[in-house]
């Protein structure tokens, strides 16, 4: 008996113990004398917030985030700076450069000669937005896009910047944007994970993408991002082992659920019920996932729209097509990462290939959502973690140069989901180094995305270890000017 008591004690973790204890104290009216909520573990009912229902009527129901990992150079894609070509080779004025912190890669560089884009730009659509010749397909859909040229961030290296954009903090361990949305909005389709992740890689210099970027942080683990990989098993460990059929799997799950239920009654740990739910979902995913992943029924129109690579698993085009299929099936947040945008050197060659990899499929995704009547309720975001410098990294030659990391300005675009179409928001200065008008901080961007999904970024909070956490941390304001 003594042993059982000891084991029972060990099964209580500290936080559960404290939260139970606080209930006891509360009933003894002592709780009111303590700091309110001192021991309350989760913020589930934080200020009347009911997770999984939006705060107000949303414009968008789902998000597809085409993350261009490595930081695409805005000077070669969207931010047209003819002046940079005129100033080619001249040192960037110190007044422009200011006290900007540099990366270890250019900190010791003696000269910072400005470099103009090797590629030409033209104006397109009714919005007359400038788009580079590297993005011919994107150029055709500018009237559906809201191009934000004045994004800025705080970090100067990939991992912190990426983590900042995804979780609102540079340090990690916080829930990713998709997890927050899953927490705030709940499932639309209970047979697929709410937050899925798709990876692809271009030919350019790549940067790591780690699973911490789609972590649920301190939120319940059902909000974690699920990676769909390109192989025969898109979701790992989902397939039944050989020799096991559907009925046997069902029977096994039923029995397991009974055992888990016993265990729940004994310990009362909510993670046990979460686990049971996850088993059930996995069971339903066994039929839902192959159905979504099946590209064989896509029409020729679709293949021509996304480009022939969309049927080659693991390419960006295939991931865009899959993203559309997942989103159409009610997945709240589909996160794509396309690696290879880190052009410190050899930029003209690499960026052309990178752009070619993503251009057709990115534009196709927007067109495809539109022709299905889904663009209104799906927010598509395209962009990297920061921008690139107006001066060259390394040696500037006649036809080759590189650009270093630049947090002070970068360009992203958004489409659908109640964002104003055919708009260019924010401008940088003539050297493309500082923001001239309408700066948009990463937290402002996040606040705006949440707003489109019917969530107030100041109210979407979770209390953890005594602090109320938000995706936007302690700042951020909704950019009303870009909301339709």
């Amino acid at each position: 008996m003594e042993k059982e008591i000891l084991e029972h004690g060990l099964n209580f973790n500290r936080r559960r113990f404290l939260s139970r204890l606080s209930l006891g104290l509360g009933s003894a009216a002592l709780g009111s004398l303590l700091v309110p909520d001192l021991f309350r573990g989760s913020g589930a009912d934080e200020e009347g917030f009911t997770p999984s229902i939006p705060h107000f009527a949303p414009k968008a129901k789902r998000v597809i985030y085409l993350f261009q990992n490595g930081a695409p150079s805005q000077q070669e894609l969207f931010d047209y700076k003819p002046r940079l070509r005129e100033l080619m080779g001249q040192e960037i004025p110190p007044s422009v450069r200011g006290a900007q912190r540099l990366t270890g890669m250019t900190a010791n560089q003696k000269e910072f000669p400005l470099v103009g884009s090797f590629v030409d730009f033209k104006q397109y659509g009714q919005s007359r937005a400038w788009v580079s010749d590297l993005l011919p397909y994107t150029a055709k859909i500018v009237d559906d896009l809201c191009i934000v040229k004045s994004m800025y961030t705080e970090a100067i290296n990939h991992d912190p910047a990426l983590t900042f954009l995804q979780t609102g903090s540079q340090q990690g361990n916080r829930p990713s944007m998709g997890s927050w949305l899953s927490y705030g909005l709940g499932n639309e389709n209970k047979n697929l994970p709410n937050f899925t992740v798709l990876l692809s890689r271009g030919i350019g210099n790549g940067q790591g993408v780690y699973s911490k970027l789609w972590s649920n942080g301190f939120l319940d683990s059902i909000h974690q991002g699920v990676q769909f990989s390109k192989g025969e098993d898109p979701v790992l460990y989902l397939r039944d082992p050989e020799g096991m059929n559907r009925q046997e799997r069902r029977a096994m799950l039923d029995n397991l659920a009974q055992l888990n239920d016993l265990s729940y009654q004994e310990f009362g740990d909510p993670e046990i019920t979460a686990k049971v739910k996850q088993y059930e979902m996995a069971y339903r995913m066994q039929t839902a996932v192959p159905d979504v992943m099946d590209l064989s029924k896509e029409s020729d129109d679709i293949i021509k729209l996304y480009g022939p690579d969309c049927l080659v698993p693991g390419t960006f085009a295939a991931n865009c097509l899959l993203a559309r299929k997942l989103s159409e099936n009610g997945v709240r947040f589909v996160q794509l990462y396309h690696q290879g945008w880190d052009q410190h050197g050899n930029l003209p060659f690499e960026i052309a290939k990178q752009a070619k990899d993503v251009d057709q499929a990115s534009a196709a995704l927007v067109t495809d959502l539109k022709q299905r009547g889904l663009l209104d309720e799906t927010l598509v975001i395209w962009g990297g973690e920061f921008g690139r410098t107006s001066y060259t990294q390394g040696k500037l030659t006649k036809d080759n140069y590189g650009r270093d990391h630049h947090p002070r300005c970068f360009t992203i675009w958004m489409a659908g989901g109640g964002i104003k179409p055919g708009m260019v928001y924010g401008e940088t200065d003539e050297m493309g180094y500082n923001i001239a008008t309408n700066p948009v901080h990463v937290h402002d961007f996040q606040a705006t995305v949440l707003h489109q999904l019917g969530l107030n970024h100041e109210k979407l909070i979770f209390k953890h270890m005594g602090r109320r956490y938000r995706l936007t941390d302690v700042s951020g304001k909704v950019i009303n000017d870009i909301i339709a």
Partner: protein, 725 residues
Amino acid sequence: MRNKVIGLAERGLFASAVFILFLLLFESRLEIPVWLQPVGRMHPLLLHFPLVILLLAVGMEAFRFNKVYATNDFYQVFSSNLLLAGALSAAITVIMGLLLATEPGYTGSVVQWHKWAGVSVFLVACFIYWFRTKPWYNRAIAQTGAACMGLILIGAGHYGSVITHGADFITEPIIKTQRAAPVDFQQAMVFNDVIKPIFEQKCTTCHNPDKLKGELNLTNAEAIRQGGKSGKLFVPGKPDVSLLLRRIHLSTTEKKHMPPSGRAQLTTAEIRLLSLWVKGSAAFDKRVADLPVTDSLRFMAAAMFKPAEAAKPEFTFDAADDETVKKLNTDYRTVAALARESPALAVNLYNKAAYSPNQLRELSPVKTQVVSLNLTKLPVKDADLSLVGQFENIQKLDLNFTDITGKGLKELVPLKHLESLTLSGTKVAYTDVRDQFRAFKNLKTVTLWETPLTDTEISQLKKANPKITFIAGFDGDKSAPIKLNPPQVRNSSVIFSQQLPLKIIHPIRGVELRYTTDGSVPDSIHSAILTSQKMVDQSTSVNVKAYKPGWFSSDVATFTFYKSAYKPDSVRLLLPLNPVHQAAGAHTFFDRKLGTFNANSPAWANNWAGFRKNDMVLVSLFDKPVSLSSVALRVMIEEETSIFPPGTIEIWGGENEGNLRKLTTLTPDMPVKKSPHELKALVTSFSPQSVSCLKIIARPLKEIPAWHPNKGKQALLLVDEVFIN
């Protein structure tokens, strides 16, 4: 001693009464020296003492004649002394207040009211103190005096706080929410509705007729035109030189920065509005709507007058019962409120196999609340649409890729609120839908992509229904042809022992693959068509190209298949591998896995065995003698990273290790400067020999050629596979 102190205090009280009267009389002629001004400014600090002390004292005074207290010596003495202390502190406070009032900026009726209330407090306190011992001073007078004192104190306090905090300080939060009633854009005035509110929020607490800091009043147009002590506020049309904006733009550390640090600061948008207003010559009587459309001020103001939320459709129906909604939620049907406290519900159905019309029938308890319904990709029939017809408030209906034909659309006509209908991927026929859309009153968008409808039919629909946007979507047949992507190989290994069926496929349906094996580029006429029956029984390089009508042909894809007839029964390396290129040791060469160029891929580290200092000396033993005529090494050649083919390859064979003879020697060709990297099988051939033991010696290049940056150094040799035939 005690009496001495009290006496002193009483004389001080009298003296201060005289002094106060003097100040009141000669107020307008006073000139307060600078060193005395701080004393005046301590008025707001000290005033709390008389306030509290006097309230307490007159409270005790009111009950002085009670039987119990009248005989209590301590009560009597204490209340008397408290009153004296209160009166004295009131005197000091009043003096300070009068000094402060001489400073510029304290004019206006509120200051006057405050002044006289304060003085009255002092006078009433003196009156009570001096006459409380007189025989005619009775209970009624004491209580009236106490009540008077209380009222005057409240009055003085109130007016004082109006001066420091402004009139609406306490009620402001309430008023603010009430103020929300938006001004109509057409009526809005530039000054009254855009500029004045800024002043009211951030400036008029100090710059009002009562406080007049810097002799500036910002509460009305006339006073604003007039300016303050430092002059006119602005030069119309020139925000850069205007005092108003100069003060605002000063650094917050500057004393003259406005609003003063510690007070609510102007936002960038507010500063911009003020600046634009001055630039536009600071007019007071212009309507916002009269400004040119391109005017920045108008642009910014337009956002202010836009109703806070674009009029959301107000749902007039009641919310459904929570329990009912909960029950309707199943694994394949989600029923969820649009937002918190919204009665409207969104319904999504999933899973073809789980669908039946019953799923729609079951929704009848919430039929009024459903505003959006998603049936995409479900086998919904025309007949089922009559069930959809029950959702009287539906706004968005998704029927993409369902089995409907358009005949059932009339069932949807009663849905008065339907705005968006998606029909992409359905079999709707023109004859069925032609006359249907007219009946829909509120319909705004219809998607018709991938339907049998032709362009002409869609444009006729557009003509007949100008209010509806018909989305036709992307038609691949009309777009410029694009290039097919190259074919792919699906064989699990390209290394085989006898023969191998080629599994070369193309992901796109209906693609024709044509191939050659002689190294030439396949063409669409003469080259053979690749079928799944195609086998290879020799090491072969296959060139394949993909063709499909309406597409450009793909690039040539080259796949090399290697024959390796014999696998040794045991292998070992006599000399160790390069420490950083271990791969799977001696087994690497017969594991049928090939390496790649990409050094970041696992296939690189796992499959390339490397040699630099030591020669590759591989001994392979066969249990039964085999007849060999060729041995090949697959190597990587990449001069850029100093990876070269071996200088020489020697093949030795015999019955056992002690009895070997050299079968052949090969000196591979070396790459030249800038030659592209390649993966290559270096083949040695010899007359057929029966061997049980085979020894392969490959020597890494001793000296890198002179043209190379690493000239003279030893090159790296990378081998991933050995083929024995």
